[in-house]
Amino acid sequence: MNDFVLIRKNLFRKKLRAILMIVSILIAFAIFGVLAAFERAFNVGQEVAEADRLVIVNKINFTQPLPIAYFNRVRAFPGVREVTHANWFGGYYQDPKNVLIVFAVEPETYTQIIGSDVIIPRDMRQAFIRDRAGALVGEGMASRFGWKVGDHIPISSNIFSQKNGSHTWDMTIVGIFGKRKPQIDANVMLFQYDYFDETRSFGKDTIGWMVLRTTSPSINDQVAKGIDTMFANSSYETSTDTEKAFNKAFIAQLGNIALIVTLVVGAAFVTILMIVGNTMMMIVRERAREIGVLKTLGFSSARVLRLVLGETVLLAIVGGLPGLAVAAAVTLMLRRSLVQFVPGMTLNPSIILTGLGFMLVLGLATGLLPAINAWRLKIAVAMGRG
C-alpha cells in the first residue's frame, strides 16, 4: 500500500464530510473561473490591440469630431505606414432597443488595417469598396439577425438623420467577415463613409477618429507627439495614443471590474480556507491515536506530515477540477446572453493554469496547520487520547 492509497482512503473515510468539503471547494473554483473569464473578456481590447496601432481622437474627448481634412495630413506624416478613419453611427435595427455597433468607415484603408483582426474574403472586400451602399457585417451580428450576403436591410441611427428627415439608411450586405483571433468581437457592421457623409443632415466633413499603423512600434511615441503637435492650437486639437492605452482607458470608465472580481473571488477563497482548514484540524485531532500508531510502526514525522498535506492537496484538486469544469460550462452558457456586453468570454488556458496554481496553494494552506500538528504529535500523547 503506497502513500497515495492511504491518502485517498483517509480522505473518503467519512464520505459525507468529504463530499461537503468538495462541494464548497468546487463552488469557489467555479466562481473563480467564471469571474476570471468575465474579467478577461472585459479587458480583451487590450489583449488584441496591435503594438503598432495608434488611435487619434479629438483632445476634448473621443466623442468630439475631427475634420476630414486631417486624414490626408496624417497619411503624409513621416512614420505613418497606413491610416484610416471611422465614425460612430449609433445604429439600431428596427427597434431602438436593438442596438448595433455600426461604423461609417473609409472602406479601403479600414479593411486593410483591421485585416490582422478579422478575415474578409477578397471578393467581399472589393465589393465593399465598390458598392456605395454596401455593408460588411461580422458573423456574430449576421447570425443574430439571420442576414445573408445580398440582403437589403434598413439600419437606423439614434444620432444622425438624412437630409430628407429620415433616421434610416438602406444598406446591402456585401460581405460577412469572420474573426482571426478568438477574442475579437465580430459583432460589428461597417458601411461607407462617403454614403454616410453625403446623406447626413449635419456634421458634414467630420470624422469620429483615426486609426493608424506606424512603420515600427519603436517610433509610436515620436509619431503620436508629432501628430498632436502638428494640430496644436488649431480649432480641433488631437490626442494620439496607442490602441492598447486607448482601450484600457475606455474600459476603466465602466468601473474597477478587476477590483470587484478580486474581492468576490477573495471572499469565496477565504470561505473555503476557513471551512476546509478547520475541518482538517478537527480530523487530525480525531485521528490522533491512529497517527500515533503510524509513528509507532516507523512512519517518520515527515511522512506523516506529507500524508496530511497530500490529503488536503488531493481534496483541493478533487474539488477544484470539477469546479473549473462547471465554470467552463457556465461560461459557455453566459457567452451568448452576454455577447453584447462582454463578447468572447472563454475559460482560456491561462485561467485554468492559474486555477491549478490556486488548488496547490489552497491545498497546502489548508493542510499546513493540521499537518504541523500531526508532525509534532508525540506517540505517548497520541496513544493516550481517545
Partner: protein, 395 residues
C-alpha cells in the same frame, strides 16, 4: 405540552452551550455566511445607490423632449424651429415675465481626470438657457455664483468636484483651445446633475462649433397631467419627430438598465457562494450532532423525544447563521455604505453615485443567511432526531 416545551428549551440550551467546544468550526460557518451576506449586500447597495441617484433626478412636472428613437440626451438633436414650436406647446408653465419656462440644451462629453486613478474619463458639459437651473428641482449653490450669460464661465456639480481633479472654484479649465473659469459649485439633491458641468448655451454652441444646434428641450409643465396634451401636440405635428417623456420616466429607464445589470450579477454570485457556505454549515452541524451522539442518546433514553433534538440542532444552526448574517450586514454598512464611485451612464458620461443600504436590502441579506442556516441545520437535525438510542450509547 409544557413539559414538552421545557424539553425543547433544555436541549436547545445544551446545543447552544456546546458551541464553544466546536469554536473554530462554528466560527468558520459564521465567517462563511458573513462573507456571503457581505457580497450580496455590496452588490445590492451598489445597484440601489445608482438607482437612487438617477431616480432622484427626474421631476414629473418637467417634460424632456428628444429626437425620436435617440434614447439618450447625448445622441439627440433638435432644431431651432422645433425648439420654437415646443415653446408654443400646451401646458407649459410660464415665469413672472410671461415667458415659457423652457430650456433648450446642448449635452457634450468632455474629458475630466479622475482623482482616484488620475486617468481621463468622460464628463458631461451641459450648455443651458437662463431658465435651465430654475426648471430643475432642488438646485442650490454651495460655493461661488452661477455662470454669467455670454461668458466663458462654468459651474460644476458637487459630485463631479469630489471625483475629478482640477474643477476647484476660480480655477481655469481648458476644453480644446477654449478656456473656462469655474465660478461656482452647485448641489442638486444628490441627483445625477451633480455629476455635470453647466455653462451658458450660446457660449457652448459657439466654442464647440455647434451654432444653431440643440440636443434636448426641457419644459416645466403647469402640472404633471399636462404631459399628455404636450405629447399629443408633438405627435400631431409632422415637423416634430420627437419623443416627449417626463424627466422622471426618462431617468427611471436609465436607472433600471444599469441597476438591473448589477443585481443580475450580484444575486447569482451570492447564491453560488451561499451554496458553498451551506456545505460548510452542514459540515459544522453534522460534526455537532456527531460530537453529541452519546448525549443525545442519553437524553432519548431518559425519555426526551426526538423533536427536541431536532429543534435544538436547527436552532443552533440558525443562531450561527444569524450571527453571520448580522456581521455581514454590519460589515457592508461600515465598509460600503456611502462609498462614492463613478460608472459610465446611459449618456456615455460618468455618473457619480454612492453605495446605499436600506432596511429592505439588509432584510434580504439576513434572510439569505437564515435560509442557509435553516437548510444547513435541518438535515443534521433529522439525523439527531432519528439517532438509534442503543447505537448512540455504544459509540
Amino acid at each position: 405540552m409544557r413539559a414538552y416545551l421545557l424539553q425543547i428549551a433544555a436541549v436547545t440550551l445544551i446545543n447552544v452551550k456546546s458551541i464553544p467546544q466546536r469554536f473554530w468550526l462554528s466560527l468558520s460557518t459564521v465567517v462563511a455566511i458573513g462573507l456571503v451576506v457581505t457580497v450580496l449586500l455590496a452588490f445590492l447597495a451598489m445597484a440601489y445607490g445608482f438607482q437612487r441617484t438617477l431616480a432622484g433626478t427626474g421631476a414629473t412636472d418637467v417634460a424632456i423632449v428628444l429626437r425620436g428613437g435617440s434614447q439618450a440626451e447625448v445622441n439627440s438633436t433638435v432644431s431651432r424651429d422645433q425648439v420654437r414650436l415646443i415653446e408654443d406647446g400646451p401646458g407649459i408653465a410660464r415665469g413672472a415675465d410671461r415667458k415659457p419656462l423652457v430650456s433648450a440644451e446642448l449635452y457634450l462629453v468632455v474629458d475630466g481626470v479622475k482623482r482616484t486613478t488620475h486617468t481621463k474619463a468622460n464628463v458631461p458639459l451641459r450648455g443651458m438657457g437662463p431658465q435651465g437651473p430654475a426648471i430643475r428641482k432642488a438646485i442650490s449653490l454651495v460655493a461661488g455664483r452661477m455662470f454669467a450669460p455670454g461668458s466663458n464661465e462654468i459651474v460644476v456639480g458637487k459630485g463631479l468636484i469630489g471625483e475629478f481633479e482640477g474643477f476647484e472654484p476660480d480655477s481655469t479649465v481648458k476644453f480644446g483651445t477654449s478656456t473656462w473659469t469655474v465660478v461656482g459649485v452647485f448641489a442638486a439633491g444628490g441627483s445625477v446633475f451633480e455629476s455635470e458641468i453647466w455653462a451658458d448655451l450660446p457660449v457652448v454652441q459657439s466654442l464647440f462649433n455647434r451654432n444653431n444646434y440643440f440636443q434636448t428641450v426641457r419644459a416645466k409643465l403647469t402640472s404633471p397631467a399636462t404631459l399628455g396634451p404636450l405629447r399629443d401636440y408633438v405627435d400631431n405635428d409632422p415637423r416634430l419627430k420627437l419623443d416627449v417623456k417626463s424627466e422622471a420616466d426618462y431617468f427611471a429607464e436609465q436607472a433600471s438598465q444599469t441597476s438591473d445589470l448589477i443585481q443580475k450579477l450580484g444575486w447569482p454570485l451570492a447564491i453560488a457562494m451561499a451554496l458553498g457556505a451551506l456545505a460548510g454549515a452542514l459540515n459544522t452541524m453534522y460534526s455537532s450532532v456527531a460530537a453529541r451522539t452519546v448525549e443525545i442518546a442519553t437524553l432519548r433514553a431518559i425519555g426526551f423525544g426526538g423533536t427536541p433534538a431536532f429543534i435544538g440542532t436547527v436552532v443552533e444552526s440558525l443562531i450561527l447563521a444569524i450571527i453571520g448574517g448580522v456581521i455581514g450586514a454590519l460589515a457592508t454598512y461600515l465598509v460600503f455604505d456611502g462609498f462614492t464611485t463613478t460608472t459610465m451612464g446611459a449618456n456615455f458620461a460618468q455618473v457619480v453615485f454612492s453605495f446605499k443600504l436600506n432596511g429592505g436590502l439588509i432584510f434580504q441579506g439576513v434572510m439569505l443567511a437564515v435560509i442557509v442556516g435553516f437548510v444547513g441545520g435541518v438535515f443534521p437535525a433529522i439525523r439527531a432526531a432519528r439517532l438509534p438510542i442503543v447505537a448512540g450509547l455504544q459509540s
